[in-house]
């Protein structure tokens, strides 16, 4: 297997007495979409800034695209694309001028620059909008333009810091299809987000809580580890009366009303949907229908924040 695109070893950053990133270690493989999740202030952006050579680590080390971020930040910068959290294109410039400027900043010039600009405009669906003023584009298009400007120099690795913050769901979906195309073409994508539905698109996810990396796995793996219980949704008549009886059933961990339905969290080793339905019917519910719902990353995130605060991973 090829060398990892990113390798962080005990990477730390302190600001005075505050430790923003605390001995974080992970590897990102080439061509994977690596999601970096965490609440605001959990240390996501600080980690990215260290990885792209903007911020010197106070401890540990990291290599990005084979270059050490502490000793060769310039080599790191030349081999990555970066899209910062804050929208940072020049709003008063036309779309094509923004691309031309960032292309030249990465050393492209002349025909190569013009060709690459046109190619990227097409790729992100902005063909024909080259002369539009950037500030007049809707948010979703601006976001795609920012992505395009991070890709001009064909970096093998891109860092996207909350690329879809404040963008509507349809535009977010379009944006993620671009990210997946990118990864399919072999580009490694390191992306932070706090939209948990988006994180499902990542091959692997690192979960940051209070500066520590508390979990690192595929979305399915995270769910298995962090949400071992099965969540069942029960619908039907007379559920409220039956809920009390259900709570006393061995293997039931929690019962909570959810609209007209009940969410029942059970130990999958002891109970399943059929047995819960039977128990509900026995308790007086009329024609109960029970089905399993997959755990979401939101469940994982909440569990991790609960337990991660104590620093104990399961």
């Amino acid at each position: 297997m090829s060398a990892p695109a990113i390798q962080a070893v005990e990477l730390s950053r302190r600001f005075g007495a505050f430790t923003a990133v605390d001995r974080v270690s992970f590897e990102v493989e080439q061509g994977e979409i690596f999601g970096y999740l965490g609440a605001n202030g959990a240390g996501k952006s600080t980690t990215i800034r260290m990885l792209i050579g903007l911020l010197a680590p106070s401890g540990g080390r990291a290599t990005v695209a084979g270059h050490d971020v502490a000793t060769a930040p310039d080599a790191v910068k030349a081999s990555i694309g970066y899209m910062s959290q804050k929208f940072s294109l020049y709003l008063d410039l036309p779309v094509s001028e923004n691309l031309r400027f960032f292309g030249a900043a990465y050393g492209l010039e002349g025909k190569a620059l013009a060709a690459r600009t046109a190619e990227l405009l097409e790729r992100v669906g902005l063909t024909g909008q080259g002369e539009a003023i950037t500030g007049e584009l809707p948010g979703g298009l601006r976001q795609r333009l920012a992505l395009a400007s991070a890709l001009l120099h064909r970096p093998p690795l891109v860092f996207l810091d909350e690329p879809t913050a404040g963008v509507d769901p349809v535009a977010r979906r379009t944006f993620w299809s671009l990210i997946r195309e990118l990864a399919a073409g072999g580009t490694t994508v390191f992306v932070t987000t706090h939209y948990l539905d988006e994180a499902e698109y990542c091959r692997r996810i690192g979960l940051m809580v209070d500066g520590k990396l508390v979990a690192l796995d595929t979305p399915a793996g995270l769910k298995r580890t962090w949400v071992p219980d099965q969540v069942l949704v029960a619908r039907g008549q007379g559920l409220a009366r039956a809920a009390e009886a259900l709570r006393r059933l061995p293997g039931v961990k929690a019962v909570s009303p959810f609209g007209a339905a009940l969410h029942v969290r059970v130990d999958p080793a002891r109970l399943d949907a059929a047995r819960v339905a039977a128990a509900l019917a026995a308790a007086g519910a009329v024609a109960p229908a029970v089905e399993a719902t997959p755990a979401s990353l939101e469940d994982v995130f909440l569990a991790a924040v609960d337990r991660g605060a104590g620093g104990v991973a399961p």
Binding site: G53, A105, E109
Partner: protein
């Protein structure tokens, strides 16, 4: 640096400069600040802040009423500076000053002609409204000159045969008419260049911080010196254009001459601009937001340029501490050099200390700005 590396670097600087030029083109306020404001200010200062004394309202109390006293009053009235507006008894002078009907009063006492005829010293009294000290001083000097002239005339008429009167000939070199516009235009140029240069650059870098694009720049291979140079170039061009505009406007509107070599004018302007742009950069590097940058830029550019540069108040008249302080104000050297080039036709031989001082300031401030411009953003 290898050739390839240098070439890349130039491409990046060019990209920065090109981008900045588009910003300027797209922002009418920047262009107005750079090109329209100077002309407005020049008109205001050139016409408004004139220290020329012209047709000052003079009240006359001629108590003698003789041929000699009338001749003296005529001499005053014939001058460019005085205009006899009223004839009153001397006691009324203060009232006239208060009402603003006159700023000077000439009192010729009874017996003026008699004293003169008897070969004794005759005295006349000039009352001046000293509220405006600058005007009062000039009037005093002019009145003195008129009276001397009159004495000479009298001496010539009656005593020429006995002893030739001593004549003092005053000749003002470079600005014979004592026109304040001649004096002001170089000063205003310095002031305007200082303000626009500092403001423009103070805003541009602070804007990048505010927008968040600075982080994007730092994440790219563009180096900090490249950012600084790329930012400087377009504003340097704009500043030189401004200098040209101000000097040309001064020539057309106020007949300010251009006696020295024009390349020296541009060289001096260039050195000064680099220093001022560097000062603006330093401010915006430290300030990180446009509001603070604007305030600091205005204060640090405007006050020294007006007060310490010698634009209005001669440096030689300042108390020693201020004179010493003015030595680190680049505007002082520019004002001195511009007056030399425009009015005296001075060349490098006379002005090299000014050029040296401007160069030192420019190098120091750009170096400082680049150093403080932390490449790694915390």
């Amino acid at each position: 640096m290898t050739r390839q590396g240098l070439r890349r670097s130039l491409v990046r600087i060019g990209a920065m400069a090109g981008k900045e030029a588009i910003h300027v083109q797209r922002d009418p306020r920047t262009l107005a600040l750079a090109l329209v404001m100077p002309l407005v200010m020049l008109v205001l200062f050139g016409y408004g802040v004139s220290t020329d004394v012209d047709h000052t309202r003079l009240a006359v109390a001629d108590e003698d009423g003789s041929e000699a006293s009338r001749a003296l009053v005529r001499a005053f009235g014939a001058s460019q500076e005085f205009e006899v507006v009223t004839r009153r008894p001397p006691a009324a002078a203060e009232g006239l000053f208060r009402a603003g009907d006159a700023v000077a009063a000439l009192v010729v006492p009874r017996g003026y002609q008699r004293e003169l005829l008897q070969g004794r010293r005759a005295e006349v009294q000039l009352l001046l409204d000293g509220a405006d000290a600058m005007v009062a001083n000039q009037l005093l000097a002019k009145a003195d000159a008129i009276v001397r002239q009159e004495s000479r005339r009298l001496a010539g008429l009656e005593l020429a045969a006995l002893r030739p009167p001593v004549q003092v000939r005053l000749w003002t070199q470079y600005n014979p008419a004592g026109r304040s516009a001649f004096y002001m235009v170089p000063g205003i140029s310095a002031f305007l260049l200082a303000i626009t240069a500092v403001m423009l650059t103070a805003l541009t870098i602070a804007g990048e911080w505010e927008r968040g694009s600075m982080e994007q720049l730092f994440a790219s291979p563009v180096g900090r010196l490249e950012i600084v140079l790329g930012k400087l170039l377009p504003y340097l061009a704009l500043g030189l254009l401004e200098l040209q505009l101000v000097v040309a406007f001064g020539a057309v509107a106020f007949d300010v001459p251009m006696r020295g070599p024009i390349w020296l004018l541009f060289l001096t302007g260039l050195l000064f601009l680099v220093g001022m742009l560097g000062q603006g950069l330093l401010i915006s590097v430290l300030a990180k937001n446009q509001l603070v940058a604007t305030q600091a830029g205005t204060l640090s550019a405007m006050l020294p340029a007006i007060i310490l540069s010698g634009m209005i108040f001669p440096v030689e008249n300042m108390p020693l501490p201020l004179q010493l302080l003015s030595r680190v104000i680049p505007a002082r050297y520019l004002v001195h050099a511009l007056r030399g080039i425009l009015l005296k036709g001075s060349g490098v031989a006379e002005l090299w200390p000014d050029l040296l001082a401007l160069t030192l300031f420019a190098v120091a401030v750009v170096t400082l700005a680049t150093r403080r411009f932390k490449r790694r953003v915390a």
